[in-house]
Amino acid sequence: MDALFHRKRPQRVAVHFVHRKAQAWLIFCTFFAAIFFVGCSPTKSVVVLLPDAEGRVGDLRVCSSKGEIALDKAYQSVAFDPQSKSGPSAFSMEKWEVVNRFGDALAAEPEMPSRIDFFTLYYQTDSVELTSDSSRSMDAVIASLKKADVLGLYVVGHADRLGSKRYNRKLSQKRAVAMKNMLVAGGIRSDRIRVSFLGETDPQIETDDEVEESLNRRVRIVVKRQIETSD
């Protein structure tokens, strides 16, 4: 902000603005303090991981200034209380408390006629060739993607951090395109598949730069499926 001010104003008139600038800063800081106060009026945040409609449980990474907690079990919870002296720790929330706290929000949850699932397939180093394990599972993946309940099909390419960002972006694109070609060769209509690629920016496992990580050399196929209605 300050740098912008300087760039926009010629140096020789800056003296005239010193007083006004100080005033502006005071207003700016008061304004910011007000926002800060509102944003940080003492609140505590409670996060609960819930099973989804099919009973599956995902995982969350909850961060605060006091530390980071990973949740990966149903009803596992964490509270972030700025007034508590100890850091956050995970606990299991009783179901009655879930209903107590979230009953109205749970009752307002939208019902959806679709669900999302995905497949992850892994690649050899610096290559668009699948690992032998992933290669073996392709027949089953293609069979599943040919089912009539598929509403949308998205292919997302990734790379690990070995090599430059630019190079890995290209590599992840090649992997995604190679996967699309495999699916088309398997009998899936090309115009149903949408391709994205994220290079090394969205790893499955966080690593330092220039580190090989087999779990990050991957393509994920995300599928939107119609939920069969029982009636």
């Binding site: 409670v46 969350l60 706290r101 929000a105 939208p110 969205d202």
Partner: protein, 156 residues
């Protein structure tokens, strides 16, 4: 004189008309979610104004939703992310980008107070890094799939 007046009027109105029309076309393209259920008192704060909303109303990034003591709300985003709010809650849709063909993804929601339940959609499954749920004291990175958040005032 008359001619001058109408010319002046034209030049005064012209920018206003273009601004208005470009704005409304933007509004049509920029919507990201749809209200699927509403109960009790619910307010939408868009560009610092109060707005009338109903089931089916389309929301945009930047919208702030507020529920009263008797209020609740459910919404579905264009990537099938589901969100619902309980009473006395305030939530902002800070960012939403779902553009698979350009590999652009962003989902940022901020809960200032109250309760919300989230079920992930395509964005969280396609780009976990792009997906964030923020509260005054925590930031939640989402791989999946369903969770609830409560921002409660600390009683002293």
């Amino acid at each position: 004189m008359m001619h001058l007046k109408s010319t002046l009027l034209f030049f005064m109105l012209f920018p206003a008309v273009t601004v208005l029309s470009s704005h409304s076309s933007l509004a049509a393209d920029n919507t990201v979610a749809k209200i699927t259920s509403m109960d009790g008192t619910v307010h939408l704060n868009r560009a610092s104004r109060e707005n009338r909303i109903a089931i089916g109303f389309r929301l945009m990034a930047g919208d702030i939703l507020e529920t009263g003591a008797d209020g609740s709300l459910g919404l579905v985003f264009d990537d099938d992310t589901r969100l619902s709010m309980g009473p006395d809650s305030r939530l902002e849709i800070e960012a939403f980008v779902f553009n698979p063909d350009e590999s652009e993804f962003s989902f940022i929601v901020r809960l200032f107070k109250g309760t919300a339940v989230y079920v992930s959609g395509l964005i969280a499954k396609m780009s976990a890094k792009a997906t964030k749920f923020i509260t005054p004291t925590a930031s939640i990175g989402i791989r999946g799939t369903r969770f609830a958040v409560h921002v409660e005032e600390i009683k002293s």
